[in-house]
């Protein structure tokens, strides 16, 4: 590469001050090259539908959580000791933000509603991958990075939930850290190590704060960058599941593609705007989300002497919480608690293997046969059922007639069956030919 080609395509100012600044910067940084590579000349299949918005929306939500989180951290105090009124300092500092910090109520409710929005968006993002087979070759690594992001996101949400030091914060931390003790031999030591004490207390709060504001956000940012780098390498899949990247004309441009900018940037600005409309309607008019974004019991300060009637996580963890509780009997010498812990973690872990479990000749639901459609519907139904039951006490009875516990066990079984039997059922399915044109 000679100097002349290196200089080619650099920004030329039209003489204005602003233009001069950009020219100066572009001469020193690969700005216009970056813009061309990733926006104006980056080709994307032109048939992407609304399911493809959730990735960029997740990116915006991540940014929003970081910005609001920085402002929260300025006034939040990770201190579990009681103040003069007998209220833990951490709890009081959150109320201080809600009442006395200028616009603190907006910052805090945006952050707390943002956590729920994040999961909502990411669940739909993952479901899109399952609909269109986005995890399949060559996007396995992109998908696996996604699964790791999901783990990190769960850890981020859990540590954040503990910080306000309300009743549910405290008792959820107690229940979840106690799970570590299910492991034989080193379990108890592991639980104490995680908590920093023999039970949840000030030491736990301090480390959860450090994880929530530094370690996990840093990990999330790095993972998201990796996710996007991998995406740019293999390109987006599309609702028809065909390999858009393979159909090129003589000049080497995609036949079924359009440039990301302006076509998808305008589309995403619109999608984002609709998302923000729904999101801020909730923030301003239902910040507690009927107890789903901010639980009513978390308006009571943590009291280690008063166990709540029943302890439940926020809605986005309830499917996994259900699986944890569904294991009530030992199996093959493994005790029930450990089985529950394994079932809960394995439910996310099994996703890693999805690219190799799926043996169908086509990617997208549009060309897959009835077996896939039935299995996926049942899978969604069992996941939602688990989520519903996880928010209820374990002895909950559906419609006053069907006990919830065996239903949760059946749904857990089906959740695993969907994945573990996939090599078989995805192969026998009757799939149509993949079409090429969008």
């Amino acid at each position: 590469m000679n100097l002349k080609t290196m200089r080619a395509g650099k920004y030329r100012s039209n003489g204005g001050f602003f233009g001069d600044c950009i020219e100066w910067l572009d001469a020193r940084l690969p700005l216009s090259a970056f813009w061309r590579k990733h926006f104006s000349e980056y080709l994307v299949p032109k048939n992407l539908n609304f399911w493809y918005f959730f990735g960029s929306i997740a990116l915006v939500v991540l940014l929003m959580q970081i910005v609001t989180g920085i402002f929260l951290a300025m006034s939040y105090q990770p201190d579990a000791t009681p103040n003069a009124d007998g209220i833990p300092v951490a709890f009081a500092s959150v109320e201080y933000i809600m009442r006395d910090v200028n616009w603190g109520w907006l910052i805090r409710t945006t952050h707390s509603t943002g956590a729920s929005a994040f999961f909502f968006v990411v669940y739909l993002h993952i479901f899109r991958c399952m609909l269109y087979g986005s995890y399949r070759k060559p996007r396995e690594l992109l998908w696996i990075v996604g699964v790791v992001i999901f783990y990190a996101l769960m850890a981020e949400a859990f540590t954040g939930y503990v910080l306000p030091w309300g009743q549910m914060s405290f008792w959820a931390a107690q229940v979840i850290t106690d799970l570590a003790s299910a492991f034989p031999f080193f379990g108890t030591a592991l639980a104490d190590w995680v908590r920093g004490d023999f039970s949840v207390g000030g030491a736990t709060l301090g480390r959860f704060f450090a994880l929530h504001v530094v370690a996990l956000p840093l990990a999330l940012i790095l993972l998201v960058v990796l996710h996007l780098v991998a995406l740019r390498e293999v390109g987006s899949n599309n609702p028809d599941g065909f390999e858009a990247q393979k159909r090129v004309n003589v000049e080497g441009t995609l036949l079924d593609g359009v440039s990301f900018h302006p076509y998808y940037t305008v589309k995403e600005v619109f999608a984002l705007s609709v998302f923000l409309l729904v999101f801020f309607s909730l923030v301003f008019f239902a910040p507690e989300g009927g107890g789903y974004f901010l639980e009513t019991e978390n308006f009571l300060p943590a009291d280690p002497l008063k166990t709540p009637e029943y302890i439940k996580p926020l809605w986005y963890f309830t499917p996994f919480y259900s699986m944890l509780r569904a294991m009530t009997r030992p199996l093959l010498g493994v005790d029930a608690k450990l089985l529950g812990v394994l079932a809960m973690n394995g439910a996310v872990g099994v996703l890693v293997f999805l690219p190799w479990l799926d043996r169908a000749p086509v990617r997208s639901i549009r060309h897959r046969g009835p077996v896939f459609k039935v299995m996926l519907s049942l899978f969604v139904a069992s996941f939602l059922t688990l989520g519903f039951l996880g928010a209820k006490p374990p002895e909950y009875v559906l419609w006053g007639a069907i006990p919830g516990a065996p239903i949760a066990r059946a749904a857990t079984f089906f959740y695993y069956f969907y994945f573990l039997a996939m090599p078989w059922w995805s192969k026998i399915d009757l799939c149509a030919q993949e079409t090429q044109a969008a």
């Binding site: 009442r99 109520w105 301003f284 507690e288 789903y292 009513t296 044109a437 969008a438």
Partner: protein
Amino acid sequence: MTPMTTRAALLAFCLFLPFQSFGGAALPTAPEVPRDALQEGAELFVNECQTCHGLSFVRFGQLAELGFSEKEIAEKLLAGAPGEFMRVAAKRDDQKRWFGVAPPDLSLTVRAHASSEGSGADWLYAYLRSFRRDDASPTGWNNDVFTKVAMPHVLWRMQDATNPEEGAADALSPEDYDRRVATLVGFLAWAGDPHAALRKRVGIGVVAFLLVFSALAYALKREYWRDITGDRRQETGGR
């Protein structure tokens, strides 16, 4: 919309369904209280409840938002400096000895009592109207929505039903008692979420802006995509 997107939209909607709260409204709804009646509730709180309960997240100066003047706050409500919190004078350890439990701070009590049976205000309204005499309890009182409560019925003189003196001077008619209790409930609801009114006002502006912005963004998107969807119509005969 293609059938696919319709189906997808249906699915997305179904995702919302399990998050709806089911459950009947078992508690009667607390009456709406106009903003200027909250002053009455504030005075009632200071006179009747603050001997035991703190409002440790609310500053006296904030009561100006309910329409009190600075002088009224100092005289009627016997407050200290406006920046001071509405705390209890008694020590928590003493209170624990007297009642068995320290009376909890009431700053968030309305938010903490929301349930599938009703809002937190509904619960508090029911609570303050459900005391009855019970000789078996140490305070001589029990409560239908909070059994074995350690709190005595401090408003007993006002409630005709619980005031033993026939036609006692300070007993109110049942309607007046309910109305006074409602102002107290309204005040504590305000104390739990003092920025609620501002939040809704700002919210209307934000939502209105986003509506307009979404419409403009949609128009822009259509304009750009015309070159692409236009091409496709020619190729595939309109889909």
